[in-house]
C-alpha cells in the first residue's frame, strides 16, 4: 500500500466531510453539530497539519480487546519493576494506536498479529493471549522474538515480523516519552555551552584532541564579545 496515497485519501476525506456539513447548514432545521477542533491544536503546526492530527485522534483503531492485548504484550517487552518503569507507564499503546492511523500500512500486520497471538494461545493453552499465564505468554514470545538478521525481513515468518514491529514501536514509544528519556540519560535539548568532550570520556574511548586543532576553536569565555576582524579575515576580538 502506498502510504502517501492513503494519507491523501484521509486528508481529502476530512475536507470533503467538512464541506458536506457546511453545505447542509443554511437550510437545516436541526442544528448541525460542530466538529470540534482537536484541543491539542498547536501554533507550531500549520492549520492543515492540525486538522490532520485531529482527524487521526478522532478515529479509533484498536478495539478494547486489542488494546488490552497490546498492553500485555508491550509490558512483556518493557516490563515494570523495582528499577524501571513499564511500557504502559509510558503510555506506549496509545502511541502505537496513533501510529497505526498515521502509518496505515501497519494496520493489517498489527491486527492480524494480535489474532495470531490469540489463535496460538488458544491452540496451545486453551485461553486467549492476554489471559494466559506469564509463563505461557513468554513461551509464545520465545518462538517469535528472535530473528536472523542475515535473512531479509521479507523472508522472515509473519509472526516474527509482527513481533519486531511491536517491539520497535514499544522501544520508540517508551524512549521518546519523558520517563524513557530520563532512563536513557540523554542530557541535551536545553541551552548549554559546548566546550568539547570531557577528559574521562576521551580516555574511555582512547582518543584525544590535538592542540593545533583546539587552538582554532572557539574560546567560550569570549563568545559574547562582538566579532571583529582585521582586513585579512583574522578574528581580533
Amino acid at each position: 500500500m502506498d502510504r502517501r496515497k492513503s494519507l491523501k485519501s484521509i486528508v481529502l476525506g476530512s475536507v470533503a466531510g467538512g464541506l458536506a456539513i457546511n453545505g447542509c447548514k443554511p437550510g437545516a432545521e436541526t442544528p448541525v453539530e460542530e466538529v470540534a477542533l482537536d484541543p491539542t491544536a498547536v501554533k507550531w503546526r500549520t492549520d492543515r497539519e492540525n486538522e490532520h492530527v485531529a482527524e487521526l485522534e478522532r478515529e479509533r483503531f484498536f478495539n478494547d480487546h486489542e488494546a488490552a492485548t497490546m498492553t500485555v504484550l508491550c509490558d512483556l517487552i518493557l516490563p515494570g519493576g523495582a528499577e524501571f518503569k513499564s511500557a504502559s507507564d509510558a503510555e506506549v499503546v496509545p502511541f502505537i494506536e496513533f501510529m497505526a492511523k498515521d502509518l496505515p500500512q501497519m494496520q493489517v500486520d498489527l491486527r492480524g498479529g494480535l489474532m495470531w497471538l490469540d489463535h496460538k494461545s488458544n491452540t496451545e493453552f486453551g485461553t486467549e493471549f492476554k489471559s494466559a499465564t506469564e509463563e505461557q505468554q513468554k513461551s509464545i514470545l520465545d518462538g517469535i522474538a528472535y530473528y536472523d538478521p542475515d535473512v531479509p525481513s521479507s523472508e522472515r515468518p509473519f509472526e516474527v515480523n509482527f513481533f519486531s514491529l511491536v517491539r520497535n514501536h514499544t522501544m520508540t514509544g517508551f524512549y521518546t516519552s519523558k520517563i524513557g528519556i530520563e532512563e536513557l540519560g540523554y542530557k541535551g535539548n536545553m541551552p548549554n555551552v559546548w566546550d568539547g568532550v570531557p577528559q574521562d570520556v576521551l580516555d574511555q574511548h582512547g582518543v584525544s584532541y590535538e592542540p593545533e586543532w583546539l587552538a582554532k576553536c572557539v574560546d567560550q569565555s569570549k563568545r559574547n564579545i562582538v566579532a571583529e576582524w582585521d582586513e585579512d579575515g583574522n578574528l581580533i576580538s
Binding site: K43, D102, T172, W194, G233
Partner: protein, 573 residues
C-alpha cells in the same frame, strides 16, 4: 472573477523570502526603497514561543517526530516537503525529479543544514579546466567582496586553511569536535582524506546586538529562537523591516506571473491570495524573482504575452533548462569503540557537523570530472521516532542472539546508543540542457496555475562519482574502526545516488551568460529580454560546484541588488 489592482507603485517587488529574496529585500530596503515582498506561505517567526519547534520534546508530537507529514519530521521547521497537497508536479519519459518546496516566510532557509561554503575560483571556470558544462561570465574575484560582506553580516564559523578552491573568509571560531568526529578525523586521515573544521552559519560568537549566540541545542533544522543561525526571515527580512526603506509583506500570496507593458517591460506581478482565493495585481518598477530556481522558471514560463510569446525571458528557450541538483550518497557504520558511552554530558553541539572534508581529489586522474565533499553525522542525539528500532541488531557482530524482549532491550539500547557514524557525500553534477523543467500543459495546481513537468537523468559521470563515494566511505569507516553497514549499491540502485532533487540544491534554470541566445540573464542576473526583471535565487547558476549553494545565492543576490539600486539611481530601469 475580477482582478483587484493596488494603486501603489513599488520600487521593487521581491517574489519569495528565502535566501535570494531575503537578501534582495535587505539590500533594497537599506537603500531606502519601497519594497513589496510576496511570499507564497504564512508568516513565521521562531522567536514566537508558540510557533517555535526548537527545544520541544518528542512527546509533544503524537507521532514523536516521525516524518509522516513533514519529510524531516514533525519538528523540522520547513512547512511543505517533496509533496504538497494541491500543488502537484509531473514527470516526462519516466524520469525522476523530487521537488522540495517550503512555502513560508524564510522558505527553505528555516531548516537548511547551514553548511556555508564559498565557491572557489575553479568553480566559476570549470569548462576551461575539464571541458564540461560552461564557464560563468563572472569569476571568483567578482563575487569575493560579496562573500566577505555576507560573512560579516550573517556570520559563519570556520578556519583559514589556504585551500585553493575552498577560499577562506571572515570566520567565527568553530566548535570543538564531538567524540564520533574525533573518530572520523582518525579514519579519514588514515585514508588520505583531509579533515577541517566545518564552515556553517551559526553564531559561535556574537556578531551584532540584534541576534543571540548559539546555545548548542543541535536543532538548527527547527530554526533558532534567538536568531543564532541563518534563516532569511530572522536575519534578512526582519532587519529589512527596521531599515530606512519601506517593506510591505504579502504572505500566503502565490505569484502567478509577471505582468508586462506594450514594450515588454515588467509592470509588476499578479498573485493569488490563498486566503480569499482571489487574484490581485501589484505594480513595481522592478521585479526581483527569488521564488527558487524551479518556481522562478515556472513564473517566467507562465508569463506569456504577445511581447513574450514563449514566456518572459525565454526567447532563448533556455528557461528551465540546465536544471541540476547536487549528487548525494550516504553510508554508515557501527563502531564498536563507540559502545557503552557515558551519557554524563550534553553533546548536541551545533545543528550538524563540527568537522568536514572538502573535495581533495584530482579529477584529471579520475574517471569522473567533478568532486564532492563529505559530511559527518552520529552522536547521542535526542530520541525520536525510530529510536530503538532493531535495537540489538549489532549483536550479530558478536555472534549473540538478535531480538528478544524484557529488560535486556534496555541495556542493549544504552549499549549501542551513539555507536553509529554516518557519512554523506554531496557532489557536483554536470549541468545538461536535457535536464529541465517545463510547463505541463495538462495540469494546474489548486490555484489554477499550470505546473512544472520535470525531465532529469544522471549521467555516467555522476554514477562514477557515486561509486567513488561509496569506495571512499567504506575505507574511511573501516579505518575509523567501524563495521560498514549495508552493501555497495549497484547499477539497479543508481549506485546509491539519491533521486535528483533530494539534496534540495536545485540550480541552473535561468542561467547567466553573455550570449542572450544561450542564457537567460546577464552577469547581473538581469533578464536579457526585460531589463527590469532580475533573478536572485539559484536559477542563474551556471554550475553547482561541490559546495552547497546558499552562500553563493546570498552573495550573488547582494551583488545583483546593489546593481539594481545603482541602475534605479541612474534611471536606467
Amino acid at each position: 472573477m475580477q482582478i483587484i489592482e493596488d494603486s501603489t507603485v513599488y520600487d521593487a517587488i521581491v517574489v519569495g523570502s528565502g535566501a535570494g529574496g531575503g537578501m534582495a529585500t535587505k539590500v533594497l530596503a537599506d537603500a531606502g526603497l519601497k519594497v513589496a515582498v510576496v511570499e507564497a506561505g504564512p508568516f513565521f517567526d521562531p522567536a514566537d514561543p508558540e510557533q517555535k519547534t526548537q527545544l520541544r520534546w518528542p512527546y509533544e508530537s503524537p507521532r514523536r517526530g516521525a516524518g509522516t507529514v513533514r519529510p524531516f519530521g514533525d519538528f523540522d521547521s520547513a512547512y511543505g516537503g517533496w509533496e504538497i497537497e494541491g500543488e502537484p508536479y509531473t514527470h516526462k519519459d519516466g524520469t525522476k525529479f523530487d521537488w522540495f518546496r517550503s512555502h513560508m516566510l524564510g522558505g527553505r532557509t528555516n531548516h537548511w543544514g547551514r553548511i556555508s561554503l564559498r565557491f572557489g575560483p575553479d568553480d566559476f571556470k570549470h569548462k576551461s579546466i575539464d571541458g564540461h558544462g560552461d564557464d560563468w561570465p563572472i569569476s571568483y574575484d567578482d563575487v569575493k567582496p560579496y562573500y566577505d560582506k555576507v560573512d560579516k553580516m550573517i556570520g559563519v564559523f570556520g578556519t583559514k586553511e589556504n585551500i585553493h578552491n575552498n577560499p577562506d573568509g571572515f570566520f567565527l571560531p568553530p566548535p570543538k569536535p564531538r567524540l564520533h568526529e574525533l573518530f572520523y578525523i582518525k579514519g579519514a586521515r588514515k585514508t588520505g582524506v583531509p579533515v577541517y573544521p566545518s564552515r556553517m552559519s551559526m553564531l559561535t560568537k556574537r556578531i551584532n546586538n540584534d541576534r543571540g549566540v548559539c546555545f548548542y541545542c543541535g536543532q538548527c533544522s527547527r530554526a533558532c529562537q534567538v536568531y543564532a543561525d541563518f534563516s532569511a526571515g530572522t536575519c534578512l527580512i526582519f532587519p529589512a523591516q527596521k531599515s530606512r526603506g519601506q517593506v510591505d509583506l504579502f504572505v500566503n500570496c502565490v505569484v502567478r506571473e509577471v505582468t508586462v507593458d506594450d514594450e515588454g517591460k515588467a509592470t509588476g506581478v499578479s498573485y493569488i491570495n490563498k486566503e480569499d482565493r482571489k487574484e490581485y495585481k501589484l505594480k513595481g518598477k522592478v521585479v526581483v524573482l527569488g521564488a527558487s530556481a524551479c518556481s522562478t522558471a515556472r513564473i517566467l514560463m507562465n508569463s506569456k504575452s504577445p511581447q513574450h510569446p514563449n514566456g518572459l525571458g525565454n526567447s532563448s528557450d533556455i528557461v528551465g533548462k540546465y536544471l541540476h541538483d547536487s549528487t548525494g550518497a550516504d553510508r554508515m557504520a557501527f563502531v564498536p569503540d563507540l559502545m557503552n558511552r557515558k551519557v554524563s554530558y550534553n553533546e548536541d553541539g551545533v545543528g550538524g557537523m563540527h568537522v568536514y572534508s572538502p573535495w581533495w581529489g584530482d579529477n584529471s586522474k579520475l574517471d569522473f570530472p567533478r568532486g564532492y565533499h563529505i559530511e559527518i553525522w552520529g552522536g547521542m542525539g535526542m530520541p525520536s521516532y525510530g529510536f530503538g528500532f532493531n535495537v540489538n541488531e549489532f549483536n550479530k557482530f558478536f555472534g549473540t542472539k538478535v531480538g528478544g524482549y524484557g529488560d535486556v532491550l534496555r541495556s542493549d539500547a544504552k549499549k549501542y546508543y551513539g555507536a553509529l557514524v554516518g557519512l554523506s557525500g554531496r557532489g557536483e553534477s554536470i549541468a545538461y540542457k536535457d535536464n529541465y523543467c517545463e510547463i505541463d500543459p495538462n495540469t494546474v495546481d489548486e490555484w489554477g496555475i499550470p505546473v512544472l513537468r520535470f525531465h532529469y537523468k544522471w549521467s555516467e559521470y555522476e554514477h562514477k562519482q557515486a561509486i567513488h563515494m561509496h569506495d571512499t566511505f567504506e575505507q574511511i569507516l573501516t579505518n575509523l574502526g567501524g563495521e560498514v553497514l549495508g552493501s555497495k549499491p549497484g547499477k539497479e540502485a543508481d549506485y546509491g545516488l539519491h533521486t535528483p532533487g533530494r539534496i534540495i540544491h536545485e540550480v541552473g534554470t535561468t542561467r547567466m551568460g553573455d550570449d542572450p541566445k544561450t542564457s537567460v540573464t546577464n552577469k547581473y542576473q538581469q533578464l536579457h529580454d526585460a531589463d527590469n526583471v532580475f533573478v536572485v535565487d539559484a536559477g542563474p547558476f551556471v554550475s553547482q560546484a561541490d559546495k552547497n549553494c546558499t552562500w553563493t545565492i546570498l552573495a550573488l543576490s547582494w551583488r545583483a541588488s546593489e546593481y539594481i539600486v545603482d541602475q534605479l539611481k541612474k534611471q536606467n530601469l
